[in-house]
């Protein structure tokens, strides 16, 4: 299949729209505006971080992930991360989310797939950790708004022995 044939034909949004969305999402995460961030997801959405090096078709029903949140747990994750008692992120680490190589892979307004590369830096108490990989999204477009139906963040490192944990939204 040629690249042209793979491009979605029934999609009202452009890559520019998607990039704006992703950059705004990254800015919310950089600023720890997690309540605003989780509002980008539609009710019933899910959020996944498979184990480092997992293939794109990894399934949380049969594989061990780091994070496999349904919508309820995603909202609980956000509540947790904003508490003083989420000790690992209090005080908040400083983070910078870099997004690039944005592509719309297919679909229509009801459900379209987006992929982007990411590099997220997290700094705390004199140490800086790097998380890198790609995000796969399933998004929807309705009433002039893009919403996230599923976000999966794939880490390309062999493991996370250096980073130790996935305590931020990467």
């Amino acid at each position: 299949m040629s690249v042209a044939a793979a491009l979605p034909r029934r999609l009202s949004v452009s890559r520019n729209d998607i990039e704006n969305f992703l950059f705004e999402e990254a800015a919310l995460l950089d600023d720890w505006k997690l309540t605003e961030w989780v509002a980008l997801f539609e009710p019933g959405a899910s959020y996944y971080v498979p184990t480092a090096g997992a293939p794109d078709d990894a399934d949380p029903a049969t594989s061990l992930f780091y994070i496999a949140d349904d919508y309820h747990r995603l909202t609980e994750r956000v509540k947790r991360l904003l508490k003083r008692t989420a000790h690992v992120e209090f005080p908040h680490s400083r983070c910078r989310h870099m997004i690039s190589n944005v592509r719309i892979i297919g679909g229509d307004d009801q459900a379209f797939a987006v992929t982007s590369n990411f590099a997220t830096y997290r700094s705390k108490r004199g140490r800086t950790e790097l998380y890198f990989g790609h995000h796969n999204y399933v998004k929807t477009f309705a009433d002039g708004a893009i919403r996230i139906r599923r976000k999966t963040s794939f880490l390309d490192s062999d493991d996370i022995a250096e980073q130790g944990k996935v305590s931020i939204i990467i």
């Binding site: 184990t51 061990l64 780091y66 496999a68 609980e76 493991d159 130790g164």
Partner: protein, 428 residues
């Protein structure tokens, strides 16, 4: 004088055990000094049984995986007859790592450097220019892969030992077998590792995770947000069913805590969030356990949580899911962790999904709890920068208790007494 007196790790005690006076302290030096780690590598990791992997990870002849155990690179494989073999992952010729894949299925392992190839028993089967070697060059296996000195299994759990003279595994595991059985009996079809390994790390000394893995005292303060989540999800902390809260010193450094807790257990205690389907399933699982083992043992399996440390660095936690975990030092202030989910074979897909969902609510580097342990242990390690002046960790909680609970420190003292027995006074 022809020889110097041996230099001991410490002239003063590293573990200050004066239990009768209510004192139990550990010198913070043991978390920071390279000499202590060298001694541990030899006296503990060089002599104790170390967990390698589970039989289900290499279930079919030809299956293999490569895994690091205290810095050694090992190949864990099942040969064509179905027997499990473990080799050091290094070519007998020049030492290159032979296998570079994390896992797979193979009929032979070939070192690409000079193309020596080995079968699944580690035996050299082909190499270029074989005629240039003396006829009896491999008469005693000199050109075969080197096997782990000892490899033994208990109920599907494979352990290795670098000490040929070590006691057998069954003797070593001793009283832990009662608790391993409570996990392995959860399915008549046996247990299996599910869907991969979580490989992560803590910026802390390895011994801190031995303590943390069975520490009932830190639960409420460190994991407050997890219990907030359980309450918010189930409308309260609910029924803990069993009121038991009991630490056990199992001898030889092994220890376990048994207790009731508010979370759901896939085997087999449902919580509100699982709905009627989850409750029905838990009831059916308990009925099946009762049929197999009688009511008392069935209830113990279903309702009681267990956090166990098998000395020195293997954890079996049977809590809101079952995790197996190893941790090993990569320096005094850094460790690597491998964690796996263990589950009954033949588990229904919905149950499996619920189990994995439950696992991730607490466990692992993205759970609602483990990242806070990461931070707590890192802060301890950073605090030990002051070990020269602020010298002692206190581990005396519960020394005056006739019936200690899991919030006391009986289980940690069991670990430290064995650690002391193996390390203190030994030559560096």
């Amino acid at each position: 004088m022809g020889s110097q007196a041996p230099v001991a790790v410490s002239a003063s005690p590293l573990v200050d055990d004066r239990s009768a006076q209510g004192v139990f302290r550990v010198a913070r030096r043991v978390f920071v000094e390279a000499e202590v780690l060298d001694c541990e590598q030899r006296e503990i990791f060089g002599k104790c049984w170390l967990y390698l992997g589970h039989e289900s990870e290499i279930s079919t002849p030809g299956d293999f995986l490569t895994r690091s155990v205290v810095g050694r690179s090992l190949i864990f494989a099942r040969n064509k007859d179905g027997d499990v073999r473990t080799f050091f992952n290094t070519c007998p010729h020049r030492g290159a790592m032979v296998c570079r894949e994390k896992q797979g299925s193979a009929s032979l392992f070939r070192c690409f450097y000079h193309s020596w190839a080995f079968d699944l028993d580690g035996k050299l089967i082909t190499r270029p220019g074989d005629e240039s070697y003396a006829e009896n060059a491999n008469a005693h296996g000199e050109h075969n892969l080197v096997r782990a000195p000892r490899l033994e299994a208990y109920r599907g759990l494979y352990f290795i030992n670098f000490d040929r003279d070590a006691v057998d595994l069954s003797t070593y595991l001793g009283n832990t077998k009662e608790f391993i059985d409570l996990v392995m009996d959860q399915s008549p079809e046996g247990m299996e590792i599910v869907g991969g390994t979580q490989e992560y790390g803590f910026r802390a000394n390895w011994k801190l995770l031995a303590e943390n893995s069975m520490d009932g005292y830190h639960g409420a303060p460190t994991h407050a947000t997890y219990f907030d989540y359980v309450m918010s999800t189930n409308g309260g902390l609910g029924d803990t069913v069993v009121q038991i809260s009991k630490p056990h010193d199992l001898g030889s450094g092994h220890a376990v805590v048994e207790y009731g807790a508010p979370w759901g257990r896939p085997i087999a205690k449902a919580v509100q969030a699982w709905g009627k389907e989850g409750e029905d399933e838990a009831t059916a699982l308990r009925a099946s356990l009762t049929q197999r083992f009688g009511e008392a043992r069935a209830n113990r399996i279903a309702y009681t949580n267990r956090n166990m440390v098998i000395f020195p660095n293997f954890v079996i936690n049977d809590i809101m899911a079952i995790t197996l975990r190893t941790f090993e030092p990569v320096g005094p202030g850094q460790m690597r962790v491998n964690a796996w989910a263990l589950a009954p074979k033949g588990e229904a897909p919905e149950s499996r999904q619920r189990r994995l969902y439950n696992y991730l609510e607490f466990l692992g580097p993205g759970g609602f709890a483990t990242p806070d342990d990461c931070e707590a242990l890192a802060l301890c390690q950073e605090g030990y920068a002051n070990a020269g002046e602020a010298r002692w960790n206190d581990i005396s909680k519960g020394l005056n208790q006739e019936r200690p609970s899991i919030e006391d420190e009986v289980q940690m003292r069991a670990f430290w007494r064995e650690w002391s027995r193996r390390v203190e006074g030994k030559q560096i």
